[in-house]
Amino acid sequence: MRLSELLNREVVTESGERLGRVHDVRGELVGGRLRVIGLVAGRRGILERYGVGTHGSGGPSQAKVHGHPILPWERVVRVGSEVVVRDSDARR
């Protein structure tokens, strides 16, 4: 699946609670690979998309990241027309 297909999909919990839309995918650069470790979801961050209100300088060890919590990938149950995640308060 392409990143642009995943972006903007609605995120719902298994019990039907709507958590907002995916507006970014958190990756982990390690050993030359880029692993997906979570989803940045919630209220749309249009300004964040342009780097406003984000953290990090964008340098080699200071990649830009959104300033609010992410949904860890372990919570993702399936990716379909919606992204379904487990019910949990364990947002980090």
Binding site: M1, R2, L3, S4, E5, L6, L7, H23, D24, V25, R26, G27, E28, L29, V30, G31, G32, R33, L34, R35, V36, I37, V40, E48, R49, G51, T54, G56, S57, G58, G59, P60, S61, Q62, A63, K64, V65, H66, W73, E74, R78, V79
Partner: protein
């Protein structure tokens, strides 16, 4: 390997000065260096490359004019302060910098050059002055380069990993004159080093086998010596033509030189203590104390060099985990190829394994129908365009403010638009 790295450096400088393709300039660089080595007398090789290399002093003036905060400069000496907190990466660069300052070929070239110049007892003072000023100047320039990089590039998240990037610092301060001075300085400093490396290899071979040697001899009289330095240039040419990144090649050559350093310095220390060779100039207690201290230092860095290179993946700190928000930091960002040329944008990314536990980015999609999920205009553009180019993520060298690839764009089928339209635009007079 060292000579190959230096030839790659000369070709990059020529490319930045002329705009001609890098691969065309590699053989031209070798030809230029070989002809200079053949035609110029030893003294003139030293003078031409040495004096023009002094253009690098532009970096020293730039470092001062950038008004660095000296407290921050001093903070840079604290281990781990500027390498994402990684002590190992800091130590790796300490080893590389020390290794670059005292590579073995410099010892062989310098000592053989003393014989070429017919120095005698009366030149001992000049020798001390040359060694002290030469090393101090080299260290001073390295320091200046680190300061300009720290002031200008670090806050902007730019990693000066291309040979031409530091030259932009001189342009930032002095305009085009600064840029040209910096590039000429780099060209002659690196070109001179390439000649020194090839000669050092030839000196070693000739002295080991007892051949006639030296630029003082006619090439036909010292034919095996002459063939040796020509062969070193030829072998270096072959290595550079493989397309291996010259900057990485430099790092590796320095690291392997560091491993060989004790084998270079121990014989010098032993000979310096041998009255049969040194006569009245044999080492005293202070010189021996400093010599042994220095030898212990290079022994430590020689032992640490390869483990540090492996642990830090060549200083890239790739073992260190960096979190990145992919849409924010990678999508729509500039792609730069292995030659430092812009070659498109990251128009989309293919993520594999989304139905599993550990999905990861597998490919970068560039151009064509890569836009088809990017809104109405994206769908329209995708219909009018051809297929996207798929670049495997394994081709990515680094992610900074740009995404840098390992290989040239043409090898990855990128930048085809310029080649296609270049045929048309090239027909306009004055366009080439």
């Amino acid at each position: 390997m060292t000579c190959a790295a230096e030839i790659g450096g000369v070709a990059i400088c020529l490319q930045l000065l002329s705009g001609l393709p890098y691969r065309l300039l590699i053989p031209l660089a070798v030809l230029g260096l070989a002809v200079s080595s053949w035609v110029l007398p030893f003294k003139w090789i030293e003078r031409v490359f040495g004096y023009l290399g002094l253009c690098l002093l532009v970096f020293a003036v730039a470092a001062i004019k950038l008004h660095p905060r000296w407290s921050q400069v001093a903070h840079g000496f604290v281990p781990g302060s500027h390498s994402g907190g990684s002590l190992l990466v800091y130590l790796y660069f300490v080893v590389v910098l020390l290794g670059a300052a005292m590579t073995p070929y410099e010892v062989y070239f310098y000592s053989s050059g003393v014989v070429e110049d017919r120095w005698g007892h009366k030149d001992l003072g000049l020798n001390k002055v040359t060694a002290i000023i030469g090393y101090a100047l080299g260290g001073f320039l390295s320091f200046a380069l680190m300061i300009v990089a720290g002031v200008l590039f670090l806050p902007r998240g730019i990693s000066p990993q291309f040979l031409g990037t530091p030259a932009l610092a001189a342009e930032h301060v002095f305009g085009q004159v600064g840029l040209v001075l910096a590039l000429v300085g780099i060209l002659f400093a690196v070109g001179g080093a390439a000649i020194e490396t090839s000669f050092a290899g030839a000196y070693n071979l000739a002295q080991f086998f007892g051949w006639r040697w030296g630029k003082k001899e006619r090439p036909a009289n010292a034919s095996r010596f002459t063939l040796s330095w020509l062969m070193i240039f030829a072998l270096a040419l072959l290595v550079v033509l493989t397309g291996f990144d010259p900057v990485k090649l430099t790092e590796y050559s320095v690291i392997f030189s560091v491993v060989a350093l004790p084998l270079t310095y121990l014989p010098i220390l032993l000979v310096a203590n041998d009255r049969a060779y040194m006569g009245a100039e044999v080492n005293g207690r202070l010189a021996n104390f400093l010599g042994v201290l220095y030898f212990i230092l290079i022994l430590v860095i020689a032992v640490a060099a390869i483990p540090l290179m492996l642990l830090t993946k060549g200083g890239a700190g790739m073992s260190k985990v960096t979190d990145v928000d992919i849409a924010l930091s990678i999508l729509d960002h500039q792609l730069v190829d292995g030659d430092g040329q812009n070659c498109g944008k990251v128009d989309d990314l293919e993520i594999a394994g989304l139905d599993g536990d550990s999905p990861e980015v597998a490919q970068i999609l560039v151009g064509g129908n890569a836009w088809r999920f990017r809104g109405l205009l994206g769908r329209l553009a995708a219909r009018l365009s051809g297929s996207a180019v798929h670049v495997p993520w394994s081709e990515v060298r680094s992610v900074t403010s740009v995404v840098t690839l390992k290989r040239p764009a043409t090898e990855l089928r990128l930048n085809r638009g310029d080649a296609r339209w270049g045929r048309l635009v090239g027909k306009v007079p004055g366009s080439r």
